[in-house]
């Protein structure tokens, strides 16, 4: 195994960005020269004055917002939201505008890279990369079997088609998303309780409660607009339950500060009030709920008075909120949330999700105007088998499925794969647009796991921290330079759209994923499953639903008109019993309480310690956006990396605005500037979760702010295998004090 470059060894070996170049391999200077060349090409093309407008999907997060891209002289000029897009609603967030600039970033990967014996990276040809990867991969599989291979991805239309197909073609079932560090807990909880996810009918709600989630920080443009409409144009009671007065707080009517990781107690206590005071929807519960009596008995002990100490909320406020929700029902809803407070944060996040789904059931709001909506998704038809043969189904269960049976099958828990790497069972791993080693769990554990692998391949547009730990890094072109497989979106309407190629490839030695998969699979010997171009695939996918590529390109987004959603109709619940399961045999079999009940968070602050909460920001959502110059300049100008500390806590510790503090958990110590504010609960500190870059190739985000996963002990939520991203406490002290 060749040596990995760590941030420390990189700094030791050199003093700055010239290091790689002086070591005789590619460096920033070479990259810049390539970039300058690209500039010249762009200038030459300017003479034509040609403009065009291309419909595509943003890639700044997983929302797949529909856009129109305006291209001038072959260069991206501006972007606009597509009004037909359910998520963008015709608008576009700042992160989206910024992420488009990735295409022209000076820090992009330009050539396939191979790690050499001394740990440095050297550019190699695609042919060499394919030959070496194929030879190592086939040897690993021949020796250890196909389950020694795993593929981890951040889901996007192309990788969702090619990733599972490539994994299955190799005979492995180990395909994962990033979910374990995102919303795995709550999606698994909703699947166990109501059979799948739900959405809040924001536009029609009379009361809406957000627990931990902030539309203004983890942005979907259409949601922000809908919330702003609710806030200024209606009588809807908007409640934010969060340790922090987040950036949606200004749109809310009421902020209920809560101790982190205790949302479950809060929801159970509100359920207690609805049941004890007979405010719940009895008809709905009788008809659609399984296990209500057992739940009623269970929550009898969870009074608002009981929850008050745990949550740090007055019992009377909990009672009032329950009464108000009941009065507004069925046009009242606890919003489903995303990563936020119970997507993957605590050991009780799965149980919290179950309780939220159950509380909505007590309100009888499923399928109702202003309530919780369960909608369907459109499906593409079958592809012609002669042109697009599918690899045989792999029966072997995915690594992690046995230990974490509650994880949503479409996600799985990539942390189980990580453990298998450490145990020596998984020996080859591919990543696609996934900075697992920086964001999914403690980076030092990822470093250990990847170090034990015999082959690590990363496909990305930039040299992420995960790429730094790979043996081969394959440079993809940016999202604006490629066509991807067809994207379908469910909901109140069913739409189909495309991430399309808006401009020609900027850097000639970068390639789109579909081409990489086709070429690599041919060298491996499984090319028959990939013997088609992306254009052929897209056309066949669209033909399967009676459309053509030309038609879709012209319209941008097409409403298929196949949604069967109607208000007032109680949806089908795809659970084993067909009912909303307050009691779940499946959950019981996984070793968790079959009845929804109280379960504490794991880490509690000792005297003088703080709870830690983290979150997204409008201009940054994942580590991948911190390499964008325009976005990072906002982060720097507005000091967005700072740790939020309550004013009374700051005073007690002698900390003033912008002071630097040392922050320590059981795992790590770092320094960070402080923002002193009244907008956070005493005893809690907050920091953004995407900073602290340590890849010296990524100049913009390098060493700015803290890397939150460094502070997080490696752990996995029982049942789901989620990362438990906030199960730690911290101490802080002023530097120099």
């Amino acid at each position: 195994m060749t040596k990995r470059i760590t941030r420390r060894s990189f700094l030791r070996a050199s003093a700055g960005s010239a290091a790689l170049a002086s070591a005789g391999v590619v460096g920033f200077a070479d990259w810049q020269a390539e970039r300058a060349h690209a500039d010249e090409a762009a200038d030459a093309a300017q003479a034509t004055g040609e403009t065009k407008r291309v419909s595509t999907l943003c890639n700044g997060c997983t929302n797949e917002c529909g856009l129109w891209v305006n291209v001038k002289d072959g260069v991206i000029h501006t972007l606009e939201g597509n009004p037909e897009s359910p998520n963008s609603g015709g608008r576009m967030c700042g992160r989206g505008h910024g992420f488009a600039q990735m295409t022209y970033s000076a820090d992009r990967l330009l050539h396939p890279m191979k790690r050499m014996e001394n740990g440095d990276f050297e550019p190699i040809s695609w042919d060499q990369a394919y030959l070496e990867i194929a030879s190592k991969l086939t040897a690993i599989i021949a020796k250890n079997g196909p389950q020694a291979f795993a593929f981890i991805r951040d889901p996007r239309p192309n990788i969702n088609f090619y990733g599972p197909r490539f994994t299955a073609a190799l005979g492995s079932s180990n395909i994962y998303t990033h979910g374990a560090s995102c919303n795995l807990s709550l999606q698994s909880a909703y699947r166990a309780t109501i059979g799948g996810g739900f959405s809040a009918d924001i536009a029609n709600a009379k009361m809406i409660m957000f627990i931990g989630r902030s539309y203004a920080d983890g942005i979907t443009p259409a949601n922000v607009k809908a919330l702003a409409n609710l806030s200024t144009g209606t009588e809807c009671h908007i409640v934010i339950v969060d340790p922090r007065f987040n950036n949606s707080g200004h749109l809310a009517d009421q902020w209920v500060p809560i101790k982190p990781g205790t949302d479950l107690a809060f929801v159970l206590a509100m359920s207690n009030v609805l049941i004890e005071d007979e405010l719940y929807d009895k008809d709905f519960v009788d008809k659609y709920v399984l296990g209500f009596n057992a739940f009623k008995k269970e929550v009898a002990q969870f009074s608002p008075e009981w929850a008050s100490d745990i949550c740090g909320i007055e019992a009377e406020i909990i009672r009032e909120l329950a009464y108000e929700m009941a009065a507004a029902a069925p046009a009242a809803v606890i919003e489903p949330s995303w990563r936020a407070a119970f997507g993957c944060a605590h050991q009780n996040s799965f149980m919290t999700g179950r309780a939220v789904a159950a509380f909505n059931a007590l309100l009888g709001n499923y399928g109702q105007k202003g309530g919780a909506l369960i909608t369907s998704s459109p499906a593409l038809g079958a592809l012609p088998a002669d042109k697009f043969p599918s690899p045989p189904l792999v029966d072997t269960p995915r690594v992690g499925n046995a230990e974490y049976p509650l994880a949503v099958p479409g996600m799985g828990t990539n942390l189980a794969a990580l453990k298998a790497m450490i145990a020596g069972d998984i020996k080859a791993v591919f990543f696609y647009q996934s900075n697992a080693a920086k964001g999914y769990a403690n980076p030092k554990v990822w470093e250990e796991g990847l170090d034990k692998c015999d082959l690590v391949v990363d496909i990305d547009v930039q040299m992420s921290e995960t790429a730094m730990l790979a043996d081969y890094v394959l440079p993809e072109c940016s999202y604006l330079e490629r066509l991807e497989a067809v994207y379908t979106q469910g909901g109140k309407k069913h739409t189909v759209s495309l991430r399309d190629k808006a401009i020609d490839i900027v850097h000639p030695d970068t390639r789109p994923l579909d081409q990489i998969m086709r070429e690599l699979s041919a060298v491996i010997g499984v090319g028959k499953y990939f013997d088609f171009t992306i254009d052929e695939l897209v056309e066949a996918q669209l033909n399967s639903i009676g459309l053509t590529t030309e038609e879709l390109r012209e319209k941008g987004i097409i409403d298929l008109g196949t949604s069967d959603f109607e208000y007032g109709k109680v949806p089908a619940f795809a659970t084993p019993s067909g009912k909303i399961e307050f009691y779940s045999v499946t959950v019981g079999k996984a070793g968790l309480s079959p009845i929804i009940t109280w379960q504490d968070r794991k880490a509690h602050p000792a005297e003088g310690e703080f709870y830690f909460v983290g979150g997204k920001q409008s201009v940054q959502s994942h580590t991948m956006t911190t390499s964008i110059e325009a976005l990072m300049n906002i982060s720097k100008e507005y000091k967005l990396e700072r740790l939020w500390v309550n004013a009374s806590d700051a005073e007690a510790l002698g900390i003033k605005e912008d002071d630097t503090v040392e922050i320590s958990s059981s795992e790590y110590t770092d320094t960070i500037r402080v923002h002193v504010t009244e907008r956070i609960m005493p005893g809690v500190v907050w920091a953004p979760t995407h900073y602290g870059g340590s890849s010296p190739y990524l100049t913009q985000g390098y060493d700015f702010g803290i890397c939150v996963p460094n502070f997080q002990p490696f752990d996995m939520e029982p049942g789901t295998g989620a990362t438990m991203s906030q199960e730690f406490t911290v101490s802080i002290k002023k530097v120099g004090a």
């Binding site: 501006t78 967030c93 700042g94 505008h97 806030s231 749109l251 976005l631 507005y638 309550n646 907008r679």
Partner: protein
């Protein structure tokens, strides 16, 4: 002839920076440059707090201090009430930066010109071209239009919501705010 102006509703604004970034791209500004900047106001004490974000940009004053002090006439007002800078006349003396009570003028690095929001003025069109800050606003916190047309969306909203200039009648601005 129109009199262009804008309404910014801070009750709806979530401070997402989309306006600054959309503007930056449309007006081909550098990655550190912005015609829009933001004031963050925190009020109250835990747990009774509020936080307001106020986007600031050229207010297109009818009584524009930057125009009064401009020694070359580079800063001028069009017939439609849009305050513009004529690049060839700007000598980069920065008087306008000092004179602007809203601190919204900035030196554009590539040209040395002291620039500012121009309501996405389009020379070919001879007027504003769908200002990008309005087009992209994810919270619908901005409305643009003709202040002289009582039927325009912006005029109706200003009247209905009682929108006011940010600093009273200091410079007779054409950006009106709904605050809260």
């Amino acid at each position: 002839m129109a009199r262009y102006g804008m309404l910014i509703d801070t009750r709806r604004c979530v401070g997402c920076f989309a306006c600054r970034l959309a503007c930056q791209m449309k007006n081909t500004l550098g990655p550190k440059e912005g015609f829009v900047h933001f004031e963050h106001l925190e009020t109250g004490a835990f747990p009774h707090v509020d936080a307001e974000v106020i986007p600031m940009q050229c207010m297109h004053c009818e009584d524009a201090p930057c125009q009064h002090v401009c020694p070359t006439g580079a800063t001028h007002t069009t017939e439609d009430g849009v305050v513009l800078v004529e690049e060839s006349k700007c000598i980069g003396c920065k008087y306008c930066m000092v004179a602007c009570p809203y601190s919204v003028r900035m030196i554009e690095e590539k040209s040395g010109v002291v620039e500012k929001c121009r309501f996405c003025w389009d020379d070919e069109l001879g007027g504003p071209n769908n200002p990008s800050c309005v087009a992209t606003c994810i919270a619908d916190a901005r409305i643009f239009g003709d202040l002289d047309d009582p039927e325009s969306d912006v005029s109706k909203a200003i009247a209905e919501l009682g929108a006011q200039p940010i600093a009273g009648d200091l410079t007779k601005t054409k950006i009106f705010y709904v605050r809260g």
